[in-house]
Amino acid sequence: MNLNYTPKQQAFREEVRSWLAANVPVQALQSFDTEEGFQQHREWEAKLYEGRWGMITWPEAMGGRGADLLEWLIFEEEYYAAGAPLRVNQNGIFLLGPTLMEYGTEEQKQRFLTGMATGTDIWCQGWSEPNAGSDMAAIRSSATLSEDGSHYVINGQKTWSTRAVWADWCFGMFRTDPASERHRGLTFILVPLNSEGITVRPIPQLDGLPGFAEIFFDNVKVPVDCRLGGEGEGWSVAMATAGFERGLMLRSPARFQETARRLVELYRANQQHVDDDPSIRDAVMRAYLDAEAYCLTTYQTACRLMQGGKIGAEASTNKIFWSELDLQMHATALKILQCRGELLPEGPDAGDVGRWLDGWLFAQSGPIYAGTNEIQRNIIAERLLGMPRK
């Protein structure tokens, strides 16, 4: 065990820091759940790509830097500390990208990864359906291979597709074998959202903005070379071995540590009138410690992976930990803000309090998406602890 950064890692941090200092927009971008904000974020992705900061863990040939997981964590720390924009293409670069590298054909990698990295193609997910939420194996949207084998014809409906309103592509699972049930007979397909027969219906989120959408497929024709992996292998592609690495990349500790840092600042600035409720001070401290614990555990996991270790079932614990931490931190902030805690950012007297309310609204989704925390607890109990399924 050696908890010191190497000179190379320190130099890398400096390099990231100075590039971000010179390039992060001074004026915060609008929310990427607005049309204009979406475009601003797309441009930011292009800028990151130009600096080769778009996806540093990707190979150099694909516009990355071949960075390892520790460098990724360092990059993220600097990224969040600099207050850089959220990643509008996270479904692409963090989720689909690594899956493409593992399961894609050479032609598919060439075709999709560059567009993804440059922000030309923004991706959304197509997993959930009205009757397939926590029970994802209940997917019914169908993809039927044409007689000449050249394309699939997709029918059905996907929902809760984050960023779908202005995205260019959707990736998801469709049932290619109508006689199949559950996990079998599903196929992973990439669908251009400008295809004929697609209707995207925006769904306003808790903050009123159309951050996600329903996607209706009505005889949508998709060329067969948009299939990722083999027909009927969709489930295993989706559950790719890289699962946790992707999780690790998607929910950086840095994000929560920056929230915790801001929470400490907020508490100290308002300490006079909030110390009447001693539970607030305690909660602030707890937020700081938990964000740090999340960082420590992520570093440990990254080190273990870099030494060739495998991720065990204990990885399923992280979703519960960060999502409940995020809720708890924002709940505490609103308690500190007292009556100002309900103000939207545009109010003339809101000051900068609205950011906490925004975060609070967003934090509500954490325990629900990407497998509810109840499902996560079942996974922990059954796979980590070995408790009986039935």
Partner: protein, 349 residues
């Protein structure tokens, strides 16, 4: 940057684990409760033969000169079996104290005896009110009014106070300070006391995690066997979630513990805060493990016959050992609420 244990550290942990689980069964603990001292010289010698007593003793005194980081995984294992021998007090508190106190003669007299398994040396700090295992100490190092004294058994009067945990032996200790050998006072003593307290808290935190894991394991086994409504009760979601809640919190209590051990071993400036973090979360998770484990055991968990209680009671006893939550929270607060504290992303290491 490498936040992993070495192959050697893990292998030694495994062999100590095998030894402890074979020797310190719940039945063995129950047998020891019925003896006069509750302690066993033969067992102590077995641990010494494994190298456990010599691990932290400097090489010049016949030890291996190893650190808190080498010991922390072993301490988890002693918690897992609810070991009652004062191994951690002797190896993690007394040994470094004798090494660092500046009394070459005292160190030369006692450290070789510790290393060989010939002596149990017990440190008693005022933060704990009572002194654990004073009855089996060959030498006591006691804190009083900011000074440290070294005392042989004939120099002290002991008044035993039974603990809720039948494996713990606690004593009020009286001695005549004028006749005792004062080994440190003033600034020097404060530093030694603080270091001992940090090591004690680390030892308790590590054991608490072992206890939490043990309570999970016992509960998983019990709920997999016990049937109601025609199914193992462990298949019911309400029961599963009780255990899952302990398991995920346990995962996030481990790395603060290892970081604390590293910081102590490397004399990092924030070591005390790191220990406090580890102690707070470790005791919380052991507490939760106890609460949820007795619940999933139903009435069986409320009995003396089922083994759960020996781990539960140890966890309760540890809650305020080497600093109650308030003590450790105050140290964390002092760090994060001070002007100019470097917090947030990139400031962890």
């Amino acid at each position: 940057m490498d936040f992993t244990f070495s192959e050697d550290q893990l292998l030694f942990r495994d062999s100590v684990r095998d030894f402890l689980r074979a020797e310190i069964t719940p039945q063995r603990n129950r047998e020891l409760w019925l003896t006069d001292t509750g302690r066993c010289s033969a067992l102590w010698q077995q641990m010494a033969d494994m190298g456990l007593c010599a691990l932290t003793v400097p090489e010049q005194y016949g030890g291996m000169g190893m650190s808190e980081l080498d010991f922390v995984l072993l301490a988890e294992e002693t918690g897992y079996v609810a070991l009652s021998e004062p191994l951690l007090n002797t190896a993690l508190l007394a040994t470094p104290l004798l090494r660092d106190c500046g009394h070459a003669a005292l160190a030369a007299q006692w450290l070789p005896r510790i290393a060989s398994g010939d002596a149990r040396v017990i440190v008693g700090l005022e933060i704990n009110t009572l002194v654990e295992d004073a009855h089996c100490a060959d030498l006591l190092i006691l804190e009083r009014n900011g000074a440290l004294y070294a005392l042989t058994p004939d120099q002290v009067q002991l008044r035993e106070n039974p603990s809720v945990d039948p494996g713990r032996k606690l004593f009020a200790v009286e001695f005549d300070g004028a006749k005792a050998e004062k080994i440190a006072e003033g600034e020097g003593a404060l530093a030694l006391i603080e270091a001992a307290c940090n090591r004690g808290a680390l030892a308790v935190a590590a054991q608490a995690l072992g206890l939490a894991q043990r309570m999970i394991d016992i509960s998983v086994q019990y709920t997999s066997e016990r049937k109601q409504f025609g199914a193992p009760i462990g298949s019911f979601q309400a029961v599963k979630h009780h255990m899952a809640n302990v398991a995920y919190k346990l995962e996030y209590a481990k790395t603060p513990l290892y970081r604390a051990a590293y910081s102590l071993a490397n004399s990092r400036p924030q070591a005390g805060v790191h220990v406090s973090h580890a102690k707070l979360v470790a005791c919380e998770v052991a507490d939760l493990a106890a609460k949820n484990s007795i619940q999933v055991h139903g009435a069986m968990g409320y009995t003396w016959e089922v083994d759960l209680h020996m781990f539960m009671k140890r966890a309760w006893a540890f809650n305020s050992s080497y600093g109650a939550a308030g003590f450790h929270k105050a140290r964390v607060a002092q760090r994060i609420f001070s002007d100019g504290a470097l917090l947030g992303a990139g400031n962890t290491f």
